[in-house]
Chain length 215, copies 2
């Protein structure tokens, strides 16, 4: 399985250790200040995207001299730089998975815009390919169906998050169970846990995010 | 206007400076580790709530010796300690506003459960009294109506966040405007800004969160 990574400009304090140690494999796209942070780790992203208005003139010069493909976006009210980057990643590159780092912590309006991106018609079909990763959380997205998921070794908690109306949500073999629950508003069923190394769940309409997390 | 504060156990790195400096006025309710943190700042909460399973025996002893009203909750899958605390605050105390600190950062399943709490039937009517405050964000909630809001002096950005279907959302005098927008999914209209010190908005169904934030 091939994957592409995005680094967004959120606080580095939220990065997982693997990223801080420069040990995340795969190609990168840099978003805004994320581009600069990649360059400082010795990683040249395939593309740099953003309005770069948070960079100094010297920092912007460094980005321009190092990255061959720069998309200096004009900020629009309904489109974050992260959304632009996801569009480029999904339409111009062929990868099975898109891992987004740096999108949590800091401004909550940004986090929510990024988190809900998968509900937009243009991104919805790609939701199962998108993951958000930070030092305490991994977020994945699921379209209606039946799934087996694997526990991440370093995570303790498991949450099922209904992003919209969700039909017949069933959690048959986790610590806390649900059977054919019709969920009519966004709910974070938090602090569930795996029994063993895998868990199953199913639902037949709407979208569900799974968050594995640790304290 | 009287207010009551809740301190939840999220990372102290997300606290606003005012809290770190011990300068938030008003009475407190402590949730889980938040109780211990209040005591260490010299603040004795009115009530301590939680399962306290993250505290050591000595820490729990300290809490029990200092706080007269302790509700040692049994954790349930559908109810966070924060929700229990909000219930106690709203039903047993008379305050115009409930300010919640320590509910952001860290585990995202917790943040989302807390953020969406206001959509639960039992809390919905109290939503306009609830605020979430951290070092970069203030979140407030609005029922359908017409409003004038004031810019917080230290914040730059203004976001309108639809938590559910929202009818006729109108932003007449902000940097980016909307007119009679019918929003059919959760959207964070991020990175808007006040023009001047106040802004107006209106909508006629659903619930809207306003987030004032800074980089």
């Amino acid at each position: 399985m091939t994957h592409l990574n995005l680094l967004v400009g959120g606080p580095t304090s939220e990065w997982p250790n693997q990223l801080t140690a420069g040990k995340v494999s795969g190609d990168w796209i840099g978003v805004d200040r994320g581009t600069l942070r990649l360059l400082k780790m010795g990683i040249t992203p395939l593309v740099a995207i953003g309005d770069f208005d948070s960079l100094s003139a010297d920092e912007l010069k460094l980005v321009k001299s190092a990255v061959s493909d720069i998309r200096q976006a004009v900020p629009e009210k309904d489109e974050t730089d992260t959304q632009l980057a996801v569009t480029v990643a999904l339409h111009e590159y062929q990868y099975d998975r898109l891992d987004i780092y740096g999108a949590t912590g800091g401004r909550l309006d940004h986090f929510l815009a990024n988190f809900w991106m998968v509900l937009e018609p243009r991104y919805r079909q790609y939701a199962p390919q998108i993951r958000f990763i930070d030092k305490q959380n991994t977020i994945t997205f699921f379209a209606p169906g039946s799934y087996e998921i694997k526990k991440e070794p370093d995570k303790k908690y498991l949450a099922f998050v209904t992003l919209e109306n969700v039909g017949h949500l069933t959690l048959p073999d986790e610590k806390y169970n649900l059977k054919d629950e019709n969920v009519t508003r966004p709910i974070s069923y938090a602090s569930n846990e795996f029994i063993g190394d895998t868990g199953h769940f199913s639902f037949d309409s709407g979208m569900v995010a799974v968050i594995q997390s640790k304290d």
